[in-house]
């Protein structure tokens, strides 16, 4: 179409941006972008964060159930509507546990960390730097595992 890379619909990127805007505004408004508030929840002094997580999941749950019945394909990509289903294996438990230790220690998760930057919290760059270091370490390790496995299969 209009010279967009990969032939994407011209409204694709603007829509992603608008979705991110609403998502980030919600994280700011709910105070989930503040590590202190997440820690208060995990330490059982303010249970309000339950409403953020379940409130959001109810909205997506309704959309994921209703939208596929109304339309077959998404207008900007032509892709069929599906749900977010990932296969279960032990990595879900191992990774979830490592993430849990990190979340409980810092009070911050990826989306909330991006939003935290937007509310002025420059100190959160420590957490963002850590997240990139962690993602890099596991990526290098798993890339090596994968190439070792493919070499073993070739033999």
């Amino acid at each position: 179409m209009s010279g967009e890379p990969g032939g994407r619909h011209p409204a694709f990127m603007p829509l992603i941006f608008v979705g991110g805007l609403i998502f980030g505004f919600g994280l700011g408004f709910s105070h989930m972008a503040r590590p202190e508030v997440v820690l208060e929840f995990l330490q059982f002094t303010d249970f309000g964060l339950l409403f953020v997580m379940f409130g959001a999941a109810i909205v997506t749950g309704l959309a994921f159930a209703i939208v596929p019945r109304l339309r077959d394909r998404a207008p900007l990509t032509g892709d069929t509507y599906g749900r977010r289903l990932k296969s279960f294996d032990k990595n879900v438990l191992i990774g979830g546990s490592i993430f849990g230790v990190g979340w409980g220690l810092s009070g911050i998760c990826p989306g909330a960390a991006y939003a935290s930057l937007g509310i002025g919290n420059l100190t959160i760059l420590w957490a963002l730097a850590g997240m990139f270091v962690g993602a890099y370490l596991q990526g290098v390790w798993r890339s090596q595992q994968a190439s070792a496995a493919s070499v073993a299969n070739a033999d």
Binding site: V18, L21, F25, G48, V67, G95, S97, G102, L105, S106
Partner: protein, 185 residues
């Protein structure tokens, strides 16, 4: 025995900051994910951005698999940052107020150009070390609070429900231990 007069007391104890800011914020987080879903069919999570962005600087196969989505994931993340900034310039700065919005007392605030910005008091070593574990764990565990927690649970995915129960339980245990050890903030 629970009487009518103890219910508000109990609510005030469990929810000292009320529930409206949390509920409204949560609905908006869900709405942001739904806007993207309706337009594109994508059920987005926030943590893939970490690996997809690393594909710009590293040739590791683990990162290169996210090449095709790395550009829009940057736009999504910029949107999250800007959306939170819109909140900071309005409600956080007191320019806009609502009975649904309860300001907080955590952390530090600073003024810049007439607007109020916020800084955490949580110590940098906790943020950095915790961040490393979040970066490792979310990517090995196939998702984070948004991917598993919002889109996965919204999809009634058993994998995501187990994932959320795992990281929530471990996070609660960790935060309780850290508090018991006297680490604050």
């Amino acid at each position: 025995m629970i009487t009518e007069s103890t219910i508000p007391l109990l609510t005030a104890e469990l929810f000292p900051n009320g529930i409206s800011r949390y509920a409204v914020g949560g609905l908006l987080v869900g709405l942001g994910a739904v806007v993207i879903y309706v337009g594109t069919g994508i059920a987005a999570g926030a943590s893939t951005f970490l690996e997809s962005t690393l594909s710009y600087v590293s040739d590791q196969s683990r990162f290169q698999r996210y090449r095709s989505s790395r550009d829009w994931r940057i736009v999504f993340t910029l949107g999250i940052i800007m959306g939170a900034m819109v909140y900071a310039l309005t409600f956080q700065s007191g320019v806009v107020s609502s009975s649904l919005y309860q300001p907080g007392s955590t952390g530090d605030v600073f003024e810049l150009g007439g607007f109020t910005f916020w800084l955490t008091d949580v110590q940098p070593w906790r943020l950095f070390l915790g961040g490393i574990l979040v970066g490792i764990g979310t990517r090995i565990g196939k998702g984070c609070t948004s991917g598993h927690g919002v889109c996965g649970v919204g999809s009634a995915s058993k994998t995501s429900i187990v994932g959320v129960m795992t990281f929530l339980a471990v996070a609660i245990g960790t935060a309780q231990i850290v508090m018991a050890l006297g680490v604050s903030p």
